[in-house]
């Protein structure tokens, strides 16, 4: 499973990086979204893969090693919120850029030549 997950993360990241290196703003926003998926998965993966581990703790926690690491999950939640917010912001900026610059090139102008 680790291997599959790692490949998945890698593919998301590679697609994302490819897209953010493209010249069109919409490509970049899609790329950033893909990258944030990759990063979110990566963070959760840092808690190690524990499929089917209990999520809630009982009143007596017992052996902490049984549980999936909750901290990366909490971190990812924060990261998701922030990346959602920044995606929204970037979207609006790219719209504004498209409107003002009359082009959707990331540089606000078509390259010469």
């Amino acid at each position: 499973m680790e291997l599959v997950l790692a490949i998945g993360i890698g593919t998301l990241a590679a697609s994302g990086v490819w897209l953010i290196l493209r010249p069109r703003t919409f490509q970049v926003i899609i790329g950033l979204s893909l990258l944030s998926y990759a990063v979110n998965l990566f963070i959760v993966a840092m808690g190690r893969v524990r499929s089917g581990a209990p999520v809630l703790i009982a009143k007596e926690a017992g052996d902490p090693a049984r549980y999936a690491d909750p901290l990366p999950q909490a971190l990812v939640l924060t990261a998701i919120v922030i990346s959602f917010a920044t995606t929204a912001l970037f979207l609006v900026v790219l719209l504004a850029s498209r409107g003002l610059a009359r082009t959707d090139h990331v540089d606000g102008q078509e390259p010469e030549a």
């Binding site: 680790e2 890698g10 593919t11 190690r48 999936a68 939640l77 719209l95």
Partner: protein, 973 residues
């Protein structure tokens, strides 16, 4: 303490002068003159304490931690220099009072002049080298401002800039050199440095330090090859030239040479570097001076030449040479200042400084002419004038054997030749300007200047004569004191007498005199027509300087900037990706990648299938994002769904839940955005050479692949990394016991690390505000301003059929769905409340609940459109955000009131009547704050975009209730 007064006085005067009204000419002059005179008197009075090697010091702590005191130090040498600075300063102020035009902003002039005097005094009185550098750079700055005083004149601007650039960069070198000296000596204190000559000269850093310090000194004193700035500085008002370019600033360089000679001199490097710079400058300056047609230009080159002479004297590296240098510094200051004043008077009275146009002025201004002739005589080294004395000493010194090299042997001949030119230009100055036929066609009819304008020159010329005739009675003790301060016990025997008998130096003087007359006669006809010297052609330092400024500091810089940097986004991201890749790769390469058994958990076919889909969707999105935006969006959403499922697979239900709701909102958001992105049409440049594009793509592909493989490797390695003693253990053990919740993740979010959440929701608020603010100024692409094609088509379809009304088609399709969507509002609302309430114990929480609730709102907008919804639901997102943030913040701050840290939670089980035991945690209130904020922020962002459809672009504002109009700034609904 009086030293501090002397130093501070000019600056105070400068400050006050700067505040005077623009035309307060006399007040400013009085102020500046008074300051100079007062400083002069204070210093004069201090004379007894500096004789016989006496030193007056004053120091106070400045940067004691770096071994730096603020130290003022007055010895004989500094005393003599300070007398020059203040004395000539006073005379120049007096002169300038009459010279400056009433229409100039004179207070500024005197303010700058006083400040310059202060800075110069700072150099002279500095008791440590760093402080000296400090004032050194200040003199550059004020000289820049003084030279460019008439800044409407481009020559003044250029000259000032050149002076600033050259002297300041020299100052930077001096700074570096001083740092090295400080490093060698272990401090910057002047006494300490002067006492460590031996240690300095034997240190391996001696040569770099010497070179750097010389760069400072030689640039300041306009020595070859940095001499060229001085003639261009002549664009300054003449009082400035008289002060800065004869007596003070340019003397700072030679002052430094003499000052540091005990520490740095006495080596071959000194002899060769300083000596050759001085010799070349002396010769070159004298030669070039002859060919100047501008009076001030002639004086400038003459100054260069005389400074070269002084530099040569210090460079000859003998105690006697230093004495002669000091003496000539004083003499040159007096005669050159008076000559500048004379030139200024001539310029002032005739309106020109061109030697070719001037003639026979003796008849109009006999007194000025006499003054100028005496001073020029001194400059030429005519006996009975002070210039003669120091020149004799100079000749004598050049005859001394120093190191027996060829140059040393030739030195007397070379300096005699140079002196020939000195005589020639002095003669020319007198003969061409004051004698001959009366000039015609001058801009003004010349006459004698006011008495007080002449007075400074008179006093200076008087000094020339008195010193020249009776040196032993006048200047000898002063010179003795000054030289003694530099040389200490090293004082050689010397005598200041007019007549030493028939000595070789007298012969040299006579040769120079005769030769000078001859040269002048020979060149007369040439000078009447030609501009500039015959041999050096059109070569000029200014051109080299300009070329360097343009080429190095502009063209090269721009070229380098374009090569080393970019303003395009893609290369930046490429560099970023590559750097990040390397940053992770290199440590792994050096330390090794800990990849063990790749199958720590068993292979799972369904999971693999899932990720086949996920990966395919990601790649698909990458391919489709350019021309098939909706498709890319769908693929992105699919990859997101796969990610959600994966979170569940990894035992992270909260994350999955959050990802799902966020996913939904993001899709809607991007679709809202697509409304304003016109269709992509392949532009013409897509036909550009395929090879280049293919290469770019290959490179990007390689980067993308590398990053992907790299991240996958990191993830794999980390997932197989043995479990660490993570801090999570504490959370699991204490979430219920101390945090009062069974959902560890949520307890972390609202309690253990509630501070993160606090920040995170603020981010959301900030972004929402930004989106709102930006969209108020939104101007869509022109192509997307009209209603979308679909709506247009549907409307025209309706209009084409008589039994239909506009909007029917859309209504038919969406009416049923709209009803269902409205029914969903309370349903989603109930689920949202459910998620909010249970978050602490089970998956859920304020954020998910908030986004869910926001989805319900957005669904209503989708169902019925903005106008309809906002007429019914009065929802004020910004206020919700504010309330949410305040609630969360105040919940956290409540703990502070009870003496606990921010965000300390409180929980207890409350017995509610009929309901039973209910857990009440302050963290819950915090979560409600989160909930409120998230609804507000999410709705604000999405609806702000949606509102754009209502705006009428490029037409007068609508009074409708749309975003940004006065009526509904806050009430979005």
């Amino acid at each position: 303490m009086f030293l501090l007064a002397v130093l501070v006085l000019p600056f105070v005067g400068s400050f006050i002068a700067a505040l005077l009204p623009v035309h307060a000419r006399n007040a400013a002059a009085w102020l500046a003159g008074g300051v100079a005179l007062a400083a002069f008197c204070i210093i004069a009075v201090a004379y007894p304490s500096v004789t016989h090697g006496g030193v007056v010091g004053w120091r106070t702590a400045w940067i004691a931690e770096l071994g730096l005191l603020f130290a003022l130090r007055l010895d004989g040498f500094a005393w003599a220099f300070a007398m020059l600075v203040t004395g000539i300063g006073f005379l120049v102020v007096l002169y300038a009072r009459y010279y400056m035009s009433p229409s100039d902003p004179v207070p500024r002039f005197f303010s700058l002049l006083s400040a310059f005097m202060g800075a110069m005094l700072g150099i002279v009185l500095s008791g440590n080298l760093l402080q000296l550098v400090f004032f050194w750079e200040l003199t550059s700055l004020f000289s820049f401002l003084l030279i460019s005083y008439w800044h409407h004149n481009s020559a003044a601007r250029d000259g000032a800039r050149m002076a600033l650039v050259i002297t300041s960069s020299g100052g930077l070198c001096l700074f570096a050199g001083v740092l090295l000296i400080g490093h060698i000596v272990g401090g910057y204190d002047l006494d300490k440095v002067l006492a460590s000559g031996e240690a300095i000269r034997s240190h391996p850093l001696y040569v770099p330090a010497l070179v750097l310090i010389l760069l400072g000194a030689l640039t300041k004193s306009a020595q070859f090859p940095f001499h060229f700035w001085l003639p261009h500085a002549m664009a300054a008002p003449t009082p400035v030239s008289a002060y800065l370019h004869s007596a003070t600033m340019v003397k700072a360089g030679v002052f430094l040479l003499v000052r540091l000679w005990p520490a740095l001199g006495g080596s071959n490097e000194w002899l060769w570097l300083v000596g050759s710079a001085g010799l070349i400058t002396f010769l070159l300056g004298a030669f070039l001076a002859v060919f100047q047609q501008d009076l001030k230009g002639l004086l400038a080159y003459s100054t260069i030449s005389h400074l070269g002479l002084i530099t040569l004297l210090t460079g000859l590296d003998t105690p006697f040479g230093q004495i002669a240098a000091i003496f000539h510094i004083m003499n040159h200051a007096t005669f050159k200042a008076s000559l500048f004043m004379a030139a200024g008077i001539i310029d002032h009275e005739t309106g020109t400084r061109d030697i070719r146009r001037l003639s026979g002025l003796y008849a109009f201004m006999p007194i000025t002419a006499t003054l100028a002739m005496v001073a020029a005589g001194s400059m030429a080294g005519v006996p009975l004038l002070n210039g003669f004395l120091s020149k004799e000493m100079f000749f004598a010194e050049t005859i001394e054997i120093h190191d027996n090299s060829f140059v040393d042997q030739a030195l007397p001949y070379i300096v005699t030749a140079a002196s020939t030119f000195t005589v020639a230009y002095s003669l020319r100055f007198i003969r061409d300007v004051f004698f001959g036929p009366a000039a015609v066609g001058l801009p003004r009819t010349p006459h004698e200047p006011p008495l007080l304008m002449r007075l400074p020159a008179e006093l200076l010329v008087l000094a020339c004569v008195v010193v020249g005739i009776a040196p032993a009675l006048t200047v000898a003790p002063v010179l003795d004191t000054a030289a003694g301060a530099v040389l200490g016990s090293n004082m050689p025997e010397y005598s200041l007498r007019i007549w030493h008998g028939f000595t070789p130096e007298l012969l040299m003087s006579i040769l120079a005199m005769v030769g000078g007359v001859g040269v002048y006669m020979m060149l007369r006809s040439y000078l009447l027509v030609n501009e500039g010297p015959p041999l050096l052609g059109r070569f000029s330092g200014k051109e080299v300087f300009d070329w360097m400024m343009v080429t190095l500091s502009w063209r090269l810089a721009r070229w380098l900037e374009s090569k080393l940097g970019t303003r395009r986004l893609q290369p930046q991201l490429r560099v970023l990706a590559a750097t990040a890749f390397l940053a992770a790769l290199l440590p792994l390469y050096w330390r090794g990648v800990p990849l063990a058994d790749p199958l720590r958990t068993p292979f799972d076919l369904a999971f693999a299938l899932l990720w086949t889909v996920g990966a395919a969707c990601a790649v698909g999105a990458a391919i489709q994002a350019k021309f098939h935006r909706v498709v890319a969006l769908i693929l992105l959403g699919s990859a997101g769904l796969v990610t959600c499922v994966t979170f569940v697979w990894l035992s992270a239900p909260d994350v999955a839940l959050t990802q799902i709701v966020v996913e939904t909102v993001t899709t809607v958001l991007l679709l809202l955005g697509l409304r304003w992105l016109p269709k992509r049409i392949a532009p013409a440049w897509a036909e550009a050479p395929a090879g280049r594009i293919r290469w770019h793509r290959a490179r990007d592909f390689a980067i993308a692949l590398s990053v992907g493989v790299g991240l996958a490797t990191l993830a794999l390695a980390a997932m197989q990394h043995p479990d660490t003693n993570s801090i999570s253990r504490y959370f699991i053990e204490n979430a219920y016991v101390k945090g009062g919740g069974t959902n560890v993740v949520n307890v972390i979010l609202v309690d253990f690390r509630g501070f993160d959440t606090m920040g995170e929701i603020t981010v959301l608020a900030v972004v929402a505000l930004t989106v709102y603010a930006l969209l108020r100024r939104f101007r869509p692409a022109p192509e997307s301003i009209p209603v979308p094609e679909q709506q247009h088509a549907q409307d025209s379809h309706d209009e084409a059929h008589p039994d239909r009304q506009k909007g029917d088609t859309a209504k038919d399709t969406t009416e049923t769905a709209s009803l269902m969507m409205r029914l969903m509002f309370p349903v989603i609302g109930v689920v949202a409340v459910f998620l909010l309430l249970r978050g602490h114990d089970l998956p859920g929480g304020g954020f998910v609940a908030g986004v869910a609730m926001a989805t319900a709102f957005i669904l209503q907008y989708m169902a019925r459109g903005t106008t309809w919804v906002e007429a019914r639901l009065h929802f004020m997102p910004v206020r919700w955000m504010g309330i949410g943030l305040l609630l969360a913040g105040c919940t956290g701050a409540a703990a502070c009131v009870f003496g606990y840290p921010f965000l300390t939670s409180y929980f207890a089980y409350a017995e509610l009547p009929l309901v039973g035991r209910v857990p009440t945690a302050s963290a819950f209130l915090f979560d409600v704050g989160v909930f409120s904020l998230v609804i507000g922020a999410t709705v604000l962002m999405l609806i702000a975009i949606a509102h754009q459809s209502l705006r009428r672009y490029a037409v007068p504002p609508q009074s409708g209730r749309h975003l940004g109009s006065e009526a509904s700034k806050e009430e979005l609904v």
